[in-house]
Amino acid sequence: MSPILIRALVIMFGLLIVASITIRVMSLCSPERDWTELRQRINTWWWIVIVFALAITTPRAISLTIFAIISFLALKEYLTLIPTRRTDHMPLLWAYIAIPIQYYWIGIEWYSMFLVFIPVYVFLFLPMRMVLIGNNKDFLHSASMLHWGVMTTVFAISHVAYLTVLPGKPETGPLLVIFLVVLTECNDIAQYLWGKSFGRIKVIPKVSPNKTLEGLVGGVMTTMFLAWLLGGVLTPLSGWESVLIGLLIGVTGFIGDVVMSAVKRDIGVKDSGKLLPGHGGILDRLDSLIYTAPLFFHVLYYLHY
C-alpha cells in the first residue's frame, strides 16, 4: 500500500475513533438524554468504513466481490420495497444475474461492455423475458420499475468499482474512490448541518421538508472547498477541475438524495430498510452516490483518460 493511501485510511479511522469517544463522553455528561440512535449511527459507520476500507485495499477479485455484494443488497432492498408481479419470478432472478456479469466486465477491464451491458442488453432482455410469460397486466409498470432498480443499484453503483481498475499507479483507483465517497458523504453531512443551523427557505417541501436552500448552498460550497483541498492530493485533477467536480458532486448528491426520497414517498415508507441501524436501509446511505458516482466517473474519464 502506498503511504498516501495508508494516511487516508488512518485519517478515516481516526475520525471514527474521535466520534466514538465524543459520543461516549457526551452520554456520560448528560445521561438523561437518549443517545441510542446516535450511538447506533456511529457503530454502523464503523461497519461501513471497515467494509469500504476492505473494498479498496484487497486484491481485485475480492474487492469487486465486495462491490458486487453492495449492489446485490441494494437491489434486494429496492425489490423488497416495490410491488412485483408474481409472474415475474424468473425476470427478477435474471435482474440479479446481471450483477456478477456487470462486475465481471469491470474485472477484465472491458470498458465498452461495462458501459452498454445494462443500458442496452439488460434493458432489452428483461422485457423479452417478461413477455415470454405472457402476463400483460401492469406490464409497462413492472418493466419500468425493474429497469429503474437495475440502473440505480447495479449500473450507477458499479461506476465506483470501475474507478478501482482505472489505469495508473496501484493506488490511483483506491484514492479516486476515497475522493468520490468521502466528498459525497461529507456533502450529505454538510448540507444537513448548514440546513439545521441556517435553513429557512425550503427547496422542495413536498418531497423532503428538511431540505433548505441555505443547506444546499452551504453544503455545496463546503464540498467545493473540500474538493479543492483533496483534489490535488488524491486525484490527477487540477485546482479548477477539482472545484468544478466539487460543485458537480455537491449538486448531484443533493439530487440523488431527493430523488430517492421521492421514491420512498411514492412507496409510502420512511426508510428503505433496516440493514444499517441508525441509518435505515442501504439505499438510504447510497442515494447520493447513485447520482454522484456515474457523473464523477465520466467527467474524470473525459478529462484525464
Binding site: 425489490l79 423488497t80 427478477l92 440479479y96 440493514l275
Partner: protein, 212 residues
C-alpha cells in the same frame, strides 16, 4: 447421525439460503422458547418457511425442533421421505384419514412428551402469498392435552413472494419475522382459534406498515 445430518442441513442449506441469499430481520427473537416442550405456530406460504424457522434457533437447540408436516405430501416418494424424516426431522401428520382408527396427532403428542419444540402450520397447507387462510383445529386438540405448553405465534412476511407454491428457486427479498407473546390453551375451541387468528392479523398489519 440424524442429529449431525440436521445440523449440516441447517448450516449448509438453511443458513446460506435464508441469511445470505434472502436476509432476515427478527423482531422479539427472545420470545421464542429455548427449551422444550413448546409449540411454534406460523403462517405458511412457502417451503422456505421451515428453513427460516430453523435459523431462528441456536445451533445447539436445532435438534429439538421438529415440524409437523403432511404425510401424503412428504412421504409419497422414498428419497423425499428419507430426507424429510431423517434430515429435516418432520413429524408426519396424516390428513383426511379416519380419526377413529388412528390419531393423526400421535407423532406430535409423542414429540411434546419427549420435550421437543414442535412447529405447526395451522393453516394446513401453503396458501396464497401474504394471505392468511382458515386455521385447522388440530392445534386445539393438541394443546388441550398439553395446557401448560406455551404456544408461540410467529409471523413471517415476504417468503411467499420469494418462493411461493410451484416455484423452486428463491428470489432474493428481505424477510421480516415477528415473534408474538406465547399463549396457552383455552377450553373453548372457537375462542382459542379466533384469538390466534386475530394475533396473526395484528402481526400482518404491522408487517405491512398499517395501523392495527
Amino acid at each position: 447421525m440424524n442429529r449431525l445430518l440436521r445440523l449440516l442441513f441447517v448450516v449448509l442449506i438453511a443458513y446460506p439460503v435464508v441469511l445470505a441469499w434472502l436476509g432476515v430481520s427478527v423482531a422479539n427473537r427472545k420470545r421464542l422458547p429455548i427449551k422444550g416442550p413448546g409449540i411454534i405456530i406460523a403462517n405458511h406460504n412457502s417451503h422456505l418457511d421451515l428453513l427460516t424457522l430453523l435459523t431462528l434457533f441456536p445451533l445447539s437447540k436445532v435438534h429439538l425442533v421438529h415440524p409437523a408436516a403432511a404425510a401424503d405430501y412428504f412421504l409419497k416418494n422414498g428419497w423425499i421421505a428419507w430426507f424429510a424424516t431423517r434430515v429435516v426431522g418432520i413429524i408426519p401428520v396424516v390428513r383426511g384419514g379416519d380419526p377413529k382408527q388412528s390419531n393423526p396427532l400421535a407423532g406430535c403428542i409423542q414429540a411434546l412428551q419427549e420435550g421437543k419444540i414442535l412447529i405447526l402450520f395451522p393453516e394446513g397447507t401453503r396458501g396464497e402469498p401474504e394471505r392468511l387462510s382458515e386455521f385447522k383445529s388440530g392445534l386445539w386438540y393438541l394443546c388441550q392435552k398439553f395446557p401448560e405448553v406455551p404456544v408461540t405465534p410467529v409471523f413471517m412476511h415476504g417468503l411467499g413472494r420469494a418462493m411461493g407454491k410451484g416455484q423452486w428457486i428463491p428470489v432474493p427479498f428481505f424477510i421480516d419475522v415477528y415473534v408474538d407473546e406465547p399463549v396457552y390453551c383455552h377450553a373453548d375451541k372457537a375462542v382459542f382459534i379466533s384469538d390466534l387468528k386475530q394475533r396473526f392479523e395484528v402481526l400482518q398489519n404491522n408487517a405491512q406498515g398499517r395501523e392495527s
